[in-house]
C-alpha cells in the first residue's frame, strides 16, 4: 500500500501522544516538583519487576525441572486473570482482617507480585523449554555441574530474562489500579495515580497541563523498555528430561495460588458476605447492584467490552487476508498497547475535548479500541505465522480463488486464534480501569470506576461485592480453551 497512507495512519494513531508531548512540554515547570515522586515511581516499578521476575522465574524454573504438566498452569493463570485492582481490593480487606496495615509500598508490591509473577512465568517457561531443555540435556549427559552448568545455561536465557523484565517494568510502571486502591488513600503516589489526582485536583490552575507533564515523564521512563519488548515465543515441544523435585514445583504452585488468589478471595468474601459491625451473614450484592453508579457502570462496561471485542474481531477478520498490512498496523498500534494507558487517556482528552464525543462512552470505546487492537492483531499474527498463511497459499496454488481459499481454509483454521484474541480482550475491557478512571464522565462510568468511587465513598462492602463478581467472571475464563497467545 502507498507510503503516504501509512504515514497518515501513523499520524492519526500517534496524535494523542504527540499532542500530549506538546502540552507536557509547555508545563515543564511542574517537573522539578514531581521529580522525587517520579524517582519513587521508577524505583517501585523496578522493585516490583524484580520481585515478579524472581517469583515467576523461580516457579518457571521449578516447573521446568519438575517437567510439571501444563495443567498446573491453571493455578497461576487464575491469579493472572483476576483484574489487578480487584486483587488489590481483596488484599486490602484480607490484610485488614489479619490486623495488618495494607496501604503503601508493601501492599502495592504484594498485589503486583500476586498478579504479575504469573506473567513472568508465562513469558519464561516457553523460553526455558525452547532454549534450555536441549542444553540441560547436554549438561546432564556430559556431567557438567555447579558453576560450569550455570555458565552453560545462564547466557542463553539472558535475553529472555531481560525481555521479561522489560515487559514487567512497562506493565508495572503504567499500572493504575493497584496503586489507586492501595496507594492513594495513604498519599503514596505513582506517576499514573499522580496524573489522575492532578487531573481531578480542584487546587490546580491547569489540571490538564499538569497531567500531561506527568504523562510525558511517564512516557520517558517507559520508552527504554518499549525497545526491549520482544515477540512472543510459540508453544514448545517437551523434551525427555528427568523430572527433578516435582513436589517442590507443586508446592510452589499451590502456595502461590493460595496467597495470590485464596487470600484476596477470602478478604472479598468476608467483606461482601458479612456485616462489618454485627458479623451477621448479610450479602451486599443487592445493595451494590441497587447503586445507580454500579448499574450504569455494569451497562457501560458490558456494552463497551462487547462492542470493542466485536469490532476488533471484525478488524482481525478483515485484515487476515492481508498479513503484511496486519503486521504493519499491529506494530503501529503496539504504541498504545505497550505504553502506559495513562498517556493514551490524557492524549485523547487533549485531542477530543473540543469535540462532541468528549465525555461520552464513545470516547471510551475509541480508547479501548486503540489500547487493545494490538492484542487482537497479535493473536491473528500468531495464527497466520503458525501455518494458516501458508496453508491458504497452498490452497491458492491448487487453483482456489482468494474468497474460497479464505472461507474454506483460512478462517476455519484461524478461528481458534481469533477466539484466543477475544478471550484476551474481553476480560481486560470488562474490568478496565486505567483509561476509564481518566476518561469517565457522568453517564459514561464503567464498573472499574464504580468500584473506585464506592471505595472512595466508604461503601467498602459494595465494592467487595462488585469485586467478587468481576473475579468470578474472570475465573470463568479458566474453563475456556486457550491457544498460542501468551500475556
Amino acid at each position: 500500500m502507498a507510503a503516504p497512507f501509512w504515514w497518515l495512519l501513523w499520524l492519526g494513531v500517534a496524535s494523542p501522544l504527540l499532542v500530549l508531548a506538546a502540552r507536557g512540554l509547555g508545563n515543564l515547570s511542574l517537573v522539578p516538583k514531581v521529580l522525587d515522586l517520579a524517582g519513587a515511581s521508577l524505583a517501585l516499578a523496578l522493585a516490583g519487576s524484580l520481585l515478579c521476575l524472581l517469583v515467576g522465574g523461580g516457579l518457571a524454573w521449578l516447573a521446568f525441572r519438575a517437567r510439571l504438566h501444563p495443567g498446573w498452569d491453571v493455578l497461576l493463570l487464575s491469579a493472572y486473570l483476576v483484574p489487578p485492582f480487584v486483587g488489590a481490593l481483596g488484599f486490602l480487606y484480607a490484610l485488614q482482617m489479619l490486623g495488618l496495615r495494607p496501604y503503601g509500598v508493601g501492599g502495592i508490591l504484594l498485589a503486583w507480585t500476586a498478579h504479575y509473577a504469573p506473567m513472568a512465568y508465562l513469558l519464561l517457561r516457553p523460553a526455558l523449554e525452547h532454549r534450555l531443555a536441549p542444553l540441560l540435556l547436554a549438561c546432564e549427559a556430559h556431567g557438567v555441574r555447579g558453576g560450569r552448568r550455570l555458565r552453560a545455561l545462564l547466557p542463553p536465557v539472558l535475553p529472555a530474562l531481560v525481555a521479561a523484565f522489560g515487559a514487567l517494568y512497562l506493565t508495572l510502571l503504567g499500572n493504575f489500579g493497584v496503586p489507586a486502591v492501595l496507594g492513594l488513600p495513604a498519599q503514596v503516589y505513582t506517576l499514573p495515580t499522580l496524573a489522575y489526582s492532578r487531573l481531578f485536583s480542584p487546587a490546580s490552575p491547569d489540571p490538564l497541563g499538569e497531567a500531561a507533564a506527568v504523562g510525558l515523564l511517564l512516557g520517558l521512563l517507559a520508552l527504554p523498555a518499549v525497545l526491549l519488548h520482544s515477540a512472543p515465543v510459540g508453544e514448545p515441544a517437551l523434551r525427555p528430561l528427568r523430572p527433578r523435585w516435582p513436589w517442590a514445583a507443586r508446592l510452589g504452585f499451590l502456595l502461590f495460588a493460595l496467597l495470590g488468589v485464596g487470600l484476596p478471595l477470602v478478604g472479598l468474601l468476608q467483606r461482601a458476605l458479612f456485616n462489618t459491625f454485627s458479623g451477621a451473614f448479610e450479602p451486599a450484592f443487592s445493595a451494590a447492584l441497587a447503586l445507580p453508579l454500579v448499574r450504569q457502570g455494569l451497562l457501560n462496561s458490558v456494552g463497551l467490552a462487547l462492542l470493542a471485542t466485536g469490532l476488533l474481531l471484525m478488524l482481525g477478520l478483515l485484515l487476515a487476508p492481508w498479513p503484511e498490512a496486519a503486521r504493519r498496523l499491529r506494530r503501529l498500534l503496539d504504541l498504545h498497547y505497550l505504553l502506559p494507558g495513562t498517556l493514551l487517556a490524557i492524549g485523547l482528552i487533549l485531542v477530543f475535548a473540543p469535540t462532541p464525543i468528549y465525555a461520552t462512552p464513545w470516547l471510551l470505546l475509541l480508547a479501548y479500541l486503540l489500547n487493545f487492537a494490538a492484542l487482537m492483531l497479535r493473536a491473528v499474527e500468531v495464527g497466520l505465522e503458525g501455518g494458516v498463511e501458508r496453508l491458504v497459499g497452498v490452497g491458492r496454488l491448487f487453483g482456489l480463488g482468494p474468497r474460497r481459499a479464505w472461507f474454506r481454509i483460512g478462517y476455519p483454521l484461524l478461528w481458534p486464534y481469533l477466539a484466543a484474541g477475544v478471550f484476551l480482550v474481553m476480560p481486560l475491557a470488562l474490568a478496565e480501569l486505567t483509561l476509564s478512571a481518566l476518561l469517565y464522565a457522568p453517564g459514561a462510568e464503567t464498573l472499574g470506576v464504580a468500584v473506585l468511587s464506592a471505595l472512595n465513598g466508604g461503601l467498602f462492602r459494595e465494592a467487595a461485592a462488585i469485586g467478587l463478581l468481576l473475579m468470578a467472571f474472570s475465573l470463568l475464563l479458566l474453563l475456556l480453551p486457550r491457544r498460542g497467545v501468551v500475556a
Binding site: R390, V394, F398, G401, I409
Partner: protein
C-alpha cells in the same frame, strides 16, 4: 510442455542463475543437487510462489511467468505434506477438483491405497498415509504439471521405495509431467526420465539419469550421485601413473586434478595397480572394500578380505576434474 528460459532469481545463497530447461508431456525431470543449490527455489519459481528477476516460464506454450500461482494449473507435493488440518481426506480432494465428483475422488483414493480412510483428518493418519493424501490431492487437481519437493524424505526406506515407484507409474498412466526435487540419487535414478544437476543455482548437467551417473561432466554432477572416490593426481600427457602402471584419463590432460571414479569402476585385473585391502564391509547386497591405492584410499566393489593385496584396473576411461 514446460519450457524455462534464462530464469534468474537472486535469493540469498539459494538463488538460481540463467536456468533453462525443457520437459516433454508426461516426462519426469529430477532436479538433483546439494542443499542450498537452488532446487526448491527453482520449484517455487515455477509454482509462482516466487517471481523471477529475469527469464521466462512457459506451460504448454503459454507464458505464465507473471501469472499468480492459482492461474498456472499446477499441483505441488510438499516435503511436509501441507495438508489442511480441518479437512477430511475426501474433502482435500473435492476442494481442489475443478468439477467435484465424489465417485471420481473415491476412485483416485482407491488408486493410492487410501480407500476406507476418506473420513479421516490428517492428525489421524500415519506419515505414509499423509504423503498419499498429498499425492492424491495433487492428482485430483488434474494439473498441467506436478511439482514434488523431496516428497519421500520423511518416510521409512521401504515405504519410500514402494511409493516412489507407484507414483512414477501413476504419473505416467495419467500422462502428467513432473518436476521432482530430490537429493537422493537412488530416487532420481528410480523415477526420472531425465535428470538436471544444480550447483550454486546453475544447471551443470542435464540428461538421462544413467548417462549423468556414468559420465558426469563436472565434479558437482559426479558428487550429486554419490558412490564417488576422489583422489588427488598429477596428469601427464593425458595419463595418470603410479609404480609403472599408467591409466589414460579424460578431462584434465595436464597438471593437478581429482581422479573421480565410482565404487564399481575399478575391477581386479592382473595388469592393474597394486592395492591393499584395509577393511571390508557389506554394502546393500554387495561387498565393499576400503583399499589403499598409490594416490590414497578409495572404496571399491570387491570380494576380498582385509590385509589381502589385489591388482585393480579401470573398466573404462576414468575422469580427472580440475583441482
Amino acid at each position: 510442455m514446460l519450457r524455462i528460459e534464462g530464469l534468474t532469481k537472486s535469493f540469498g545463497k539459494a538463488g538460481v542463475h540463467q536456468v533453462s530447461l525443457g520437459l516433454g508431456r508426461g516426462q519426469i525431470l529430477a532436479l538433483l543437487g546439494a542443499s542450498g543449490s537452488g532446487k526448491t527455489t527453482l520449484l517455487n519459481l515455477v509454482a509462482g510462489l516466487l517471481l523471477p528477476d529475469s527469464g521466462r516460464i512457459f506451460l504448454d506454450g503459454e507464458d505464465v511467468t507473471n501469472l499468480p500461482p492459482e492461474r498456472r494449473g499446477l499441483a505441488y507435493v510438499f516435503q511436509d505434506h501441507a495438508l489442511w488440518p480441518h479437512l477430511t481426506v475426501l474433502e482435500h480432494l473435492l476442494l481442489v477438483m475443478k468439477e467435484p465428483r465424489k465417485e471420481e475422488a473415491l476412485a483416485l483414493l482407491e488408486r493410492v491405497g487410501l480407500l476406507g480412510l476418506e473420513r479421516r483428518r490428517p492428525h489421524q493418519l500415519s506419515g505414509g498415509q499423509k504423503q498419499r493424501v498429498a499425492l492424491a490431492r495433487a492428482l485430483a487437481a488434474r494439473p498441467r504439471l506436478l511439482l514434488l519437493d523431496e516428497p519421500y524424505s520423511a518416510l521409512d526406506p521401504v515405504l519410500r521405495e514402494e511409493l516412489r515407484l507407484e507414483v512414477a507409474s501413476l504419473l505416467r498412466a495419467e500422462g502428467v509431467g513432473a518436476l521432482h526435487v530430490t537429493h537422493d540419487p537412488d530416487e532420481a535414478l528410480a523415477v526420472a526420465d531425465r535428470v538436471a544437476v544444480l550447483e550454486g543455482g546453475r544447471i551443470v548437467q542435464e540428461g538421462l539419469p544413467a548417462e549423468v551417473y556414468a559420465r558426469p561432466n563436472s565434479l558437482a554432477a559426479a558428487r550429486a550421485f554419490g558412490r564417488l572416490n576422489l583422489l588427488p593426481v598429477e596428469v601427464r600427457g593425458g595419463q595418470v601413473g603410479w609404480d609403472g602402471v599408467v591409466w589414460p584419463v579424460e578431462g584434465v590432460q595436464e597438471g593437478p586434478g581429482f581422479l573421480a571414479f565410482r565404487y564399481e569402476e575399478l575391477v581386479p585385473s592382473p595388469a592393474g595397480l597394486l592395492a591393499r585391502v584395509e577393511a571390508s564391509y557389506d554394502g546393500r547386497g554387495e561387498r565393499l572394500c576400503r583399499v589403499r591405492l598409490g594416490w590414497g584410499e578409495a572404496v571399491v566393489k570387491l570380494e576380498a578380505l582385509p590385509g589381502q593385496e589385489v591388482r585393480l584396473a579401470p573398466v573404462g576411461l576414468l575422469r580427472v576434474f580440475p583441482r
